[in-house]
């Protein structure tokens, strides 16, 4: 299973990469981690005639805090997040999520931003980005723009990224210790694509939830927040009854994917369970 021939470019600066994208972006692809792109190329399902390898652009390899945000550069690999990269509520959550991404060797190469750019429904980082309303920084020779997840994700593997654009940075809001978090994922084998994921972020004040962000991924064509579940949790103490209700709402609200690994009804069952477990974690640990 060998890919079709392609021209290979390895720019060392973002500007050079953008120039190449301007010329080759239509029939070409950015190569970052390659853990999703190269299998598709080996199956000849993806047939780019040019590959723009951004792995030499050292300036994109960063994770830093600034302006109340965690700013993640395009070359930050999944492996980097297996240890805490920041304080507050994300400190333990990011490593917890990172452990679910494929396997160790995949995490050596795959990148956070690459996962967002690829927009696989089963992507853990896509779910986090959607749930936390991350800011996506996108550049091209035509300039720079920022996108929010609801302006970005169209459907599975499809986004509003233009062919000449490069996703250079993702910005997650820093969350202080008033936030309690939870994440739960279901897959058939260790490291497999998630059939359903639930992410819960609950901000507490005086023992009551004042802000809730509940995200579902893996079960739908793109990750999304479940507003109705967030509403039912807000103002409560997050007890078992309301957590259970939130899980049910999430299960009933989504438009589930169907494939050989899961029917639509089963996906709803999984969403109910994963959202429930994410909420249980947020409340009990």
């Amino acid at each position: 299973m060998k890919p079709v021939s392609f021209r290979y470019f390895a720019p060392r600066t973002v500007d050079d990469a953008l120039d190449l994208l301007a010329t080759h972006g239509e029939e070409g692809k950015i190569l970052a981690g390659g853990q999703s792109l190269v299998p598709a190329m080996n199956f000849r399902l993806a047939r780019p005639t040019s590959l723009i390898d951004i792995n030499r652009i050292d300036a994109l390899d960063y994770v830093r805090e600034g302006g109340g945000e965690l700013r993640i550069g395009a070359l930050a690999r999944h492996a980097r997040f297996e240890a805490p990269v920041t304080g507050g509520a994300l400190s333990a959550l990011l490593p917890q999520v990172a452990r679910h991404i494929g396997h160790l060797p995949i995490r050596s190469r795959g990148t956070f931003c690459g996962s967002i750019a690829h927009a696989d429904p089963a992507s853990e980082w896509c779910l986090l980005a959607a749930t936390l309303d991350a800011e996506l920084v996108v550049v091209s020779r035509r300039g720079q723009r920022s996108l929010r997840p609801n302006e970005y994700f169209i459907t599975a593997l499809t986004t509003t990224l233009e062919p000449d654009e490069l996703l250079t940075e993702i910005r997650l809001p820093l969350l202080d210790d008033n936030w309690r978090t939870g994440f739960s994922e279901f897959s058939r084998r260790a490291g497999d694509f998630a059939l359903a994921m639930g992410a819960a972020f609950l901000r507490f004040e005086d023992g009551r939830i004042v802000e809730a962000r509940i995200g579902v991924g893996g079960a739908t064509d793109r990750p999304s927040r479940i507003a109705a579940a967030e509403t039912v949790l807000t103002g409560t103490d997050g007890g078992p009854g309301v957590r259970h209700a939130a899980g049910n709402i999430a299960a009933e609200t989504i438009d589930p994917l169907e494939d050989i690994h899961s029917s639509a009804p089963y996906r709803r069952d999984l969403v109910r369970a994963m959202v429930g477990r994410a909420l249980d974690q947020a409340l009990t640990r």
């Binding site: 290979y8 390895a10 190269v38 080996n42 199956f43 390898d53 792995n55 396997h103 060797p105």
Partner: protein
């Protein structure tokens, strides 16, 4: 067919210069251009891990990288594990504890285990199981692979 280009990199401590098409995978370059056939291809879509090598000390699936990406890097393969006639402790442990049967997945598991133990020489069994679940084996049922790596880890801590 695209123009071939030179790739200069180090394999098992030895400098290599090869000339390959961009689409040549790192796995195929090691096997065919460097003559190191110990790295095996089991799936070419990044699931089985038989092609695992170390690239700048990180475990990677060499079927998911192109050789041109390895320019200037240090690659380690199974052929570089033994020190002359002396087997690496992991190789010795796999031998002592019957950690292989057909041997096809073994180089990938050895390189994976090398990287796991380099990252965390004191790794506990549950975490080791999780890390070793990166690769597939069809013959051993995994029992003796785990046993071998645990034995090697203990030996290497001495």
């Amino acid at each position: 067919m695209s123009e071939r280009q030179n790739v200069t990199f180090t394999v098992n401590g030895e400098k290599r210069v090869i000339r390959v098409e961009p689409r040549r995978s790192l796995a195929d370059a090691l096997r065919e251009d460097c003559g190191l056939t110990g790295t095996h291809l089991g799936c070419e879509h990044g699931v089985c891990g038989a092609c695992t090598v170390l690239l700048d000390d990180q475990p990677v699936r060499s079927c998911l990288m192109f050789a041109v990406q390895a320019e200037g890097t240090r690659v380690r393969t199974v052929e570089g594990l033994a020190d002359g006639d002396k087997l690496h402790p992991l190789q010795q442990a796999f031998w002592d504890h019957h950690g292989l049967q057909c041997g096809f997945c073994t180089p990938g598991f050895l390189m994976l285990a090398v990287s796991i133990l380099e990252l965390d020489p004191d790794i506990a069994e549950p975490e080791l199981r999780e890390a070793l679940s990166s690769n597939l084996c069809r013959c051993t049922g995994y029992q003796n692979i785990l046993k071998s790596v645990l034995a090697a880890a203990a030996e290497m801590r001495k």
